[in-house]
Symmetry: C2
Subunit: 104 residues, 2 copies
């Protein structure tokens, strides 16, 4: 892959779609939780304190984007992180926040 070509408009749109999937507190919480191992929808609902349908829709956004994958076992559906590098974002997000706190 040639690394010095500027990304196209479509590249930025595709990337933004992934960022959007990450840009919600509940979904960030779910990702953090899934970094500890797979979880069923009901466990994530308890943590999120939201309606089950709401949690399910958040998960389907993450799944459609390719960030998580699911597997049905018995009555339950388990989700797990498919692309763990998104976890690296958290450190940087926090450093943006502390940078902003230090100055205006």
């Amino acid at each position: 892959m040639l690394v010095h070509l500027r990304p196209t408009q479509e590249d930025f749109e595709a990337r933004a779609k992934v960022m959007k999937a990450l840009a919600h507190p509940t979904r960030l919480m779910m990702i953090e939780e899934l970094s500890r191992g797979e979880r069923c929808v009901c466990e994530l609902r308890d943590l999120a304190d939201r309606d089950l349908s709401t949690v399910s829709k958040h998960l389907s956004i993450l799944k459609d984007t390719g960030i998580v994958e699911d597997e049905k076992r018995g009555k339950q559906v388990f989700y797990r992180l498919r692309v763990p590098c998104v976890l690296n974002f958290f450190h940087c997000l926090d450093s943006v926040l502390t940078a902003r706190d230090r100055l205006g």
Copy 2:
């Protein structure tokens, strides 16, 4: 900073705010461009092909979040990247995309 405490709801909300600021194709393009050095608003407008007011508002979102900073010199306002670690996101975003392409 104790690293094993789970982030609070507020932590996730603050992080999501930063992610949201990044979750737009035009703003991602601006960040990529600013990684090459400071740019004035007019240069970014030419690249974005959007109304100047639109570009200015995108930049103020990035500024309010703490991702970029601005400096007025003469007639122009120059923006530069304040927290370069956000550039590391791009590789991971692309790997999410290729992971999704490889499987459903």
